[in-house]
């Protein structure tokens, strides 16, 4: 079996190698890929949509339909993970663990025992070893807001610099994941519940598709942001630029929510207890 597989892989590789001889040279400015369609994008992106970052312009405007489905793919992944993993039935355990927050001492309360009644001093945990490191917690508490601020900058500044809705959304999501890693999943879920993240994910994609639909309802075709001009009170070029910003915000929202949702489900195998 192994040799057959290696032979197949090598055969595949040598076929490709055989083909590379006819490839256009790497970095050749006269290669067909650089000659045919891309000059239009390079020369017109700024004229058409007032976006200096050509990649953003192509991503959200010329090929905006692709990007809408890219967001839908990530949304589908979140949905799929939830569908596959989430378990709603909790195992009844005959012992419960509580941590005294100021001292970090863990109380193990057997069935029938009295549950500590001061919720401000005790927190419910799921295993004896649940990370509670002061240094990590404090560092993350300091870092997370700046990460989030940077993420918002990345979303908003995607027109002029690398970045955009997708990257910013991932970074925003990563900040919440960092919070979940540094404390525990339970407290993160308390801050941003699963319900919120699911609704936010669909709202994000809905912003994108809704913008497209609005263009259609305003008398143009789907995703033609130029049609938003009367609503945004600007010229059609600036309307395209603003339209791109709106859909980027939608993408950012959806991607952030889905990343958090994915992490919630994968890190706890759908149980949403202590997580990593």
């Amino acid at each position: 079996m192994k040799t057959v597989a290696i032979l197949t892989v090598c055969l595949c590789g040598s076929l490709f190698l055989f083909c590379t001889m006819e490839f256009p040279n790497w970095g050749d400015p006269a290669a067909p890929a650089s000659m045919h369609l891309s000059p239009y994008f390079i020369q017109n992106a700024e004229k058409d949509a007032a976006v200096p970052n050509i990649v953003t312009a192509v991503l959200a405007d010329y090929r905006g339909y692709d990007t809408m489905f890219e967001t839908a793919v990530i949304f589908a992944a979140g949905l799929a993970c939830f569908f596959l993993l989430r378990t709603f039935t909790r195992k009844r355990r005959n012992e419960r663990l509580f941590r005294h927050i100021p001292t970090g001492i863990v109380l193990n309360i057997k069935a029938g025992g009295k549950i500590p009644d001061d919720p401000s001093k005790f927190e419910r945990i799921d295993s004896h070893w649940t990370p509670n490191d002061l240094i990590i917690k404090t560092t993350c508490r300091l870092i997370i807001p700046s990460i989030q601020l940077f993420a918002l900058y990345v979303i908003a500044h995607g027109h002029h610099s690398p970045g955009g809705g997708f990257q910013g959304g991932v970074i925003l999501g990563a900040s919440f994941i960092l919070l979940a890693i540094s404390t525990d999943l339970r407290s993160t879920v308390r801050r941003l519940s699963e319900r919120t993240s699911a609704i936010m994910a669909s709202a994000g994609v809905l912003i994108y598709a809704g913008t497209g639909l609005l263009c259609l309802l305003l008398g143009s075709v789907f995703l033609d942001y130029g049609a938003l001009a009367p609503v945004l009170r600007s010229g059609s070029v600036m309307a395209r630029s603003h339209g791109i910003l709106i859909v980027e915000i939608g993408v950012g929202l959806a991607v952030m929510a889905v990343m958090i949702w994915l992490y919630y489900n994968i890190s706890s195998a759908g149980k949403h207890d202590e997580g990593l």
């Binding site: 290696i6 590789g13 790497w26 050749d28 890929a33 650089s34 192509v58 990530i74």
Partner: protein, 130 residues
């Protein structure tokens, strides 16, 4: 002769690296029995394709596809900027690959919960026993 060889290597080595990575990914997907290894192989395979597309878009003596400020008045030379289209396509491909990864890991966790192992041959022997 020697010069020709060097120019050919310079013009193609990126594509060769893509082929090597693709072979690594394919090998891992076909031969490895561990499911997480297979998933890693799948990701390597996908990134190799991204490498291919980005190499197609590369352009010598050109800069990143963001129009320089102060360029607005003059005519924009297409040769001055790298081809942006493959970048756009590959952004989508990266998103697709992380989405696939999420679903794959979710399935792998379900498989583990069912059989308590991630090795494909162990699972197969468990299935055959029933």
């Amino acid at each position: 002769m020697m010069n020709d060889l060097i120019t050919m290597i310079a013009a193609k080595y990126n594509y060769w690296a893509f082929i090597v990575l693709m072979m690594i990914g394919l090998y891992a997907m076909i031969v490895k029995k561990n499911l997480v290894k297979k998933i890693i192989g799948m990701n390597i395979f996908q990134t190799s394709i991204i490498l291919f597309y980005i190499s197609v878009g590369a352009k010598e003596s050109a800069t990143i596809p963001i129009i320089a400020h102060g360029h607005q008045e003059g005519v924009i030379q297409a040769t001055a900027y790298i081809n942006p289209l493959p970048h756009v396509l590959m952004l989508t491909a990266i998103v697709v690959s992380v989405a696939t990864l999420g679903v794959a890991l979710a399935l792998a966790i379900r498989v583990y919960n069912q059989y308590r192992t991630l090795e494909e041959d162990d699972i197969q022997s468990q299935i055959n026993q029933i």
